[in-house]
């Protein structure tokens, strides 16, 4: 099905199942520990051996010598694979550094060997016996140091120059020119990257933890140099990803290589202390923002330049993207620079670009509002744009940013906000902050297969993944709505590369695109079922487990007969995304307390108001948003991969050193979804929320801290040491 004209009324609009806050259908499995993750496939794989990965001890250089003798002789060892013995490997399409390093070392903890043994304990002990001698070469690990020479990313093709930014900024009555810094962030999903691999002749099956099954199967095949149809990836449950499992990582490759070498199924999980430098991370940014406005607060010039670094052939953190679309302003400059750094590979993490971009932009807007003496919400409202500022003829499909902010202000009690540094609750300085949330709505081709059996049970198969997003449930809701059956008559099977290729989980495109793919398949199935029941498909009504038209009504199971019926289709998107700018919007509201003596920062209240198209399941969508708010709180207050600029690695590479929020950091969170349907997005009229929820949170926290203390911090995370010297005397 090609989606190239705005959606009109369709069966989804019945909202009998869609739009209900349904409990997740995978809940009973997850809460009882019976949902199997990649390392736990006792049900599928007999007698696996255990692989343990050895990582490079330097950031850049060469392996001069590697002595495997002791490790090979260690008890239980079945095989050791290194770059020397792995055979020819190609780099996957989605990898920047090789997953198996050697002799060249591209980054710290790059995998250089896998030791396969009978038991986990034996593999781990043997891995420690591998002796490596390195020749170190100098690397560049300091973004600040290479910033000034960093060239435009992708030759500047995504940069924006509209009007005369420099001139307008120079002439503006009120200006801000400030630089903001966000550090490297770790996904730190709870399930470490893990894979179980098994060869059957030349066929490879990998039970893994991966957000994008088709990309993954393709890259496993490419890396190993085998046909894609010989690779099967299975990933029904994924213990979190946040972008960190978009791509095949060392666990999958080394499980496959180890399995081949040991002639046994092999399972490999990356250890937690290894993950931070071995896998990908969200790159640090330096962002310069310049805003010029008239005295009444109309933005006349807006400039956002951003610098980040990555390994050679890597990509930038596109932190200036949202600034192209979020606010009006006749004269515009957006530029993205990319330096080469020899730190571990930078890549996508939840709302890449916008998450760090809004951490900066939305402080800048707060600073600017203050300079202008205008309420920060009013300042944003004043500079709202209903068109793409670069192409004024291009409208937003939906844009309710103002309503998000105003609804939030009313709900949160924004009017009670006091002047900076003047509100106090005992030992705590208190303050409120706001930020706009913005994230584009991307649509991706997505296919599904739907079966209806003689018992009237609908089974959906698609290689879509559920990374905690609630995919199982919204797909079941979609199929139930389309086929007119209750939810418990729907079976959803996900995450298998033998299923039709879906959008996968990334870029907050998963929910809308994958359910639209299921919609398309169900449309086809409805036609087939109606025809089989002798009913005109154009007049068929699917409800209560039956298909009917006029006086004729047939139970679905009877309609399809003993063999059932199967339909497969995909949703493809035309150019509605070009004609209309599709984005999601929100407003984040945060209240913090800052301890007057110690500077400790604690979040007291959080509210997000989101406008993101039709909300398919308000319960799981709300969870997406509160989870993103939590991650945003972490980015604001504690998360930072600390770079050792001498040795080129992230020093705090475990969950004690890389602090993410715990229960005690997070108050009760409120989420409001504005009533919205977006007929430009898909037949589902839905958009994503999983990334919108993190966009702007950090700045809302930062702005609340400013409101509480009068101290402006432009370098994340905002930790107490950055406030301490400017806090009031302890009396």
């Amino acid at each position: 099905m090609k989606f190239d004209t705005p959606a009109t009324t369709n069966p989804i609009d019945q909202l009998k199942v869609i739009g209900k806050p349904t409990d997740r259908i995978d809940g009973p499995l997850k809460t009882t520990g019976t949902a199997p993750y990649a390392y736990e496939r006792h049900d599928a794989v007999d007698n696996p051996a255990y692989g343990y990965v050895v990582g490079a001890g330097i950031a850049k250089g060469r392996i001069a010598a590697m002595d495997l003798a002791k490790a090979k002789a260690a008890p239980g060892v079945l095989a050791i694979v290194t770059a020397d013995t792995a055979g020819k490997l190609q780099k996957g399409n989605f990898n920047t550094a090789n997953l198996l390093g050697g002799p060249e070392i591209e980054h710290y903890h790059q995998a250089i060997a896998v030791v396969v043994a009978e038991t986990f304990e034996q593999a781990r002990a043997a891995a420690a016996l591998i002796k490596v001698r390195y020749t170190k070469t100098p690397g560049q690990y300091d973004l600040e140091a290479v910033r000034k020479d960093a060239p435009p990313a992708e030759k500047g093709k995504n940069d924006v120059k509209i009007g005369d930014f420099a001139g307008a900024f120079a002439q503006a009555a009120v200006t801000l020119d400030a630089t903001y810094r966000t550090p490297d962030h770790a996904h730190a999903m709870m399930e470490p990257h893990a894979s179980t691999a098994q060869w059957d002749g030349d066929k490879l099956t990998v039970w893994t933890s991966n957000q994008m099954i088709a990309w993954g199967a393709g890259d496993v095949a490419k890396t190993l140099g085998i046909p894609k149809d010989k690779v099967r990836l299975i990933s029904p449950y994924i213990g979190g990803g946040f972008g960190g499992k978009l791509f095949v990582r060392a666990d999958a490759l080394l499980a496959a290589l180890g399995s081949k070498a040991a002639n046994r199924p092999v399972k490999v999980a990356l250890t937690r202390p290894f993950m931070f430098n071995n896998t990908t991370h969200r790159p640090a940014t330096i962002q310069r923002i310049r805003i010029g406005a008239t005295k009444d607060g109309t933005i006349t010039a807006i400039g956002h330049e951003t610098w980040s670094g990555d390994l050679p052939e890597g990509g930038p953190e596109t932190a200036a993207e949202q600034t192209k679309l979020l606010y009006a302003g006749a004269n515009r400059l957006m530029a993205t620079k990319l330096a080469v750094l020899d730190l571990p590979e930078g890549n996508a993490m939840r709302a890449p670009g916008e998450a760090p971009g809004l951490m900066a932009l939305e402080i800048a807007m707060d600073e600017m509002a203050e300079k202008l003496g205008i309420d920060p919400i009013k300042f944003r409202v004043l500079n709202d744009t209903q068109v793409d500022p670069a192409k004024p003829e291009r409208l937003f499909s939906q844009r309710q940013l103002i309503k998000c902010l105003e609804t939030g202000a009313d709900t949160f009690g924004w009017s009670k906000r006091k002047a900076p540094g003047t509100a106090r609750d005992g030992q705590w300085l208190t303050g409120m902050g706001v930020a706009a949330a913005f994230r584009n709505n991307i649509v991706m081709k997505s296919a599904a297969r739907v079966k209806l059996d003689a018992k009237g049970v609908v089974t959906v198969e698609t290689d879509m993944t559920d990374i905690g997003t609630g995919t199982y449930t919204i797909i079941a809701q979609t199929a139930a709505e389309m086929m007119g059956v209750p939810l418990d008559k729907v079976v959803v099977k996900l995450g298998d590369s033998t299923f039709p290729v879906s959008a996968g989980s990334g870029g907050q495109w998963g929910a809308n695109s994958s359910t639209a793919g299921v919609y398309a398949a169900c449309v086809k199935l409805r036609e087939a079922v109606a025809t089989s029941a002798g009913i005109d498909p154009t007049k068929a009504v699917f409800a209560n487990g039956r298909v009917r038209s006029g006086n004729k009504s047939v139970a679905l199971g009877d309609a399809v007969g003993v063999n059932g019926l199967v339909a497969e289709d995909l949703i493809e998107f035309g150019d509605l995304g070009k004609k209309y700018q599709q984005s999601t919007f929100g407003g984040h509201f945060v209240e913090v307390g800052v301890h007057a003596a110690t500077g400790e920062i604690r979040i007291r209240r959080m509210l997000a108001v989101c406008a993101a198209g039709r909300i398919l399941n308000p319960k799981s969508a709300r969870s997406q948003v509160i989870g993103a708010m939590t991650m945003g709180a972490g980015a604001a207050l504690m998360e930072e991969l600390a770079v050792d600029k001498r040795h080129g690695f992230f020093v705090n590479h475990d969950l004690a050193g890389y602090e993410v929020p715990v229960h005690a950091d997070i108050p009760h969170q409120e989420v409001i979804f504005l009533d919205e349907t977006d007929p430009m997005s898909s037949p589902m009229k839905a958009k994503g929320v999983g990334e919108l929820g993190i966009c702007g949170v950090g700045a809302a926290v930062a702005n609340a801290i400013y409101n509480a203390t009068g101290i402006r911090v432009r370098e994340y995370p905002i930790t107490l040491d950055k406030l301490l010297d400017r806090l009031p005397e302890v009396v």
């Binding site: 030992q427 003596a597 504690m638 600390a642 590479h653 050193g657 602090e659 005690a664 040491d721 302890v730």
Partner: protein
């Protein structure tokens, strides 16, 4: 993790003797720090002596009006003990500020005293660390050092002691009771128990080879207002940037000990004499010889301000 042999000890003396017999052997009680380090081969004991069955899990009154805390009393039980809560609240508070509920259920009194540093370079076997590999150097110096010591450190090591409990023990003048492999017992004042790094940061305590902690005793209660303020970025389940243990009497005198600033719980008795003159004066004496790094200089300000807040709190 290296392979090891394992025995369950039948008595403290037997445990101590067994430890001496196998060089590098370790006692294991809660295991929450030892196993963590063994997995990374930072600890590589060839032999483990399980001391959990020794019955050292009681909290009893001493003749002097104090408390004897068995070495194996779990952190949860010590924090929840009615006498500790009433008379040694600073100890209860310190324990409850540390780790997580799960860890406190396993971690023991002796094991907590013997926790090793959380310095990330100590934890990464690719990096130089004099504590882990004497003579290899200290990567934390000139590296990432926000968490590290500001006082009492050396050119060999700037690690901190991670324990909260030990800070309160130091404040309360606890004594460590031990038995040696020859069966002799001794009592080590807590002030002499933990060492500064000097040139031998790998030697962290005054325990002799095989020497086994049987109990920690507390002198009789000293009254006063008990405060334990732990400052950290995360609201819970994090090591201290700075912690302040204080017992303040109604006349303004009292005791102060700090965590998160040194290789051992940091108490300077001379500084306590300055208490009537306020936090600044106390802090000046506590940190007279401080050598912070650029990254952790803030701890000096933080400690003073946290102390000031604690003194305010004590006034009520």
């Amino acid at each position: 993790m290296r392979a090891f042999t394992y025995q369950r000890a039948a008595s403290p003396a037997e445990a101590a003797a067994a430890a001496l017999k196998t060089p590098g052997a370790k006692f294991i009680a809660g295991g929450t720090n030892l196993l963590d380090l063994m997995k990374l081969e930072i600890e590589t004991p060839p032999h483990l002596i399980d001391v959990n069955g020794l019955g050292l899990d009681k909290i009893e009154p001493t003749k002097g009006g104090g408390l004897r805390i068995g070495a194996l009393v779990r952190n949860t039980d010590l924090a929840a003990d009615a006498k500790v809560r009433k008379d040694y609240a600073v100890l209860s508070r310190a324990l409850l500020a540390g780790a997580s509920g799960q860890l406190r259920n396993k971690a023991t009194t002796a094991g907590n005293l013997l926790q090793r540093t959380r310095c990330p370079y100590f934890y990464d076997t690719n990096q130089a660390c004099n504590k882990r590999l004497p003579g290899s150097g200290c990567s934390a110096i000139g590296g990432i050092s926000r968490q590290h010591a500001v006082v009492g450190a050396s050119t060999a090591c700037i690690a901190t002691h991670p324990s909260d409990m030990a800070v309160a023990m130091r404040l309360l003048d606890a004594k460590v009771e031990t038995v040696r492999p020859n069966g002799q017992t001794r009592v080590i004042p807590i002030a002499d128990f933990h060492r500064l790094p000097g040139t031998t940061p790998h030697i962290e305590t005054s325990l002799q080879p095989g020497e086994f902690i049987t109990a920690v005793t507390l002198p009789k209660p000293i009254g006063g207002t008990h405060i334990y303020t732990k400052v950290r970025d995360r609201a819970s389940y994090a090591f201290a940037l700075v912690s302040v243990a204080a017992v303040i009497q109604t006349d303004g005198t009292g005791r102060i000990a700090l965590g998160g600033v040194a290789h051992k719980p940091w108490r300077v008795e001379a500084a306590e004499k300055e208490l009537p003159r306020g936090a600044k004066a106390v802090s000046a004496k506590l940190f007279a010889n401080a050598v912070p790094t650029p990254e952790n200089r803030f701890k000096l300000t933080l400690a003073e301000r946290t102390l000031a807040a604690a003194l305010l709190e004590a006034k009520g």
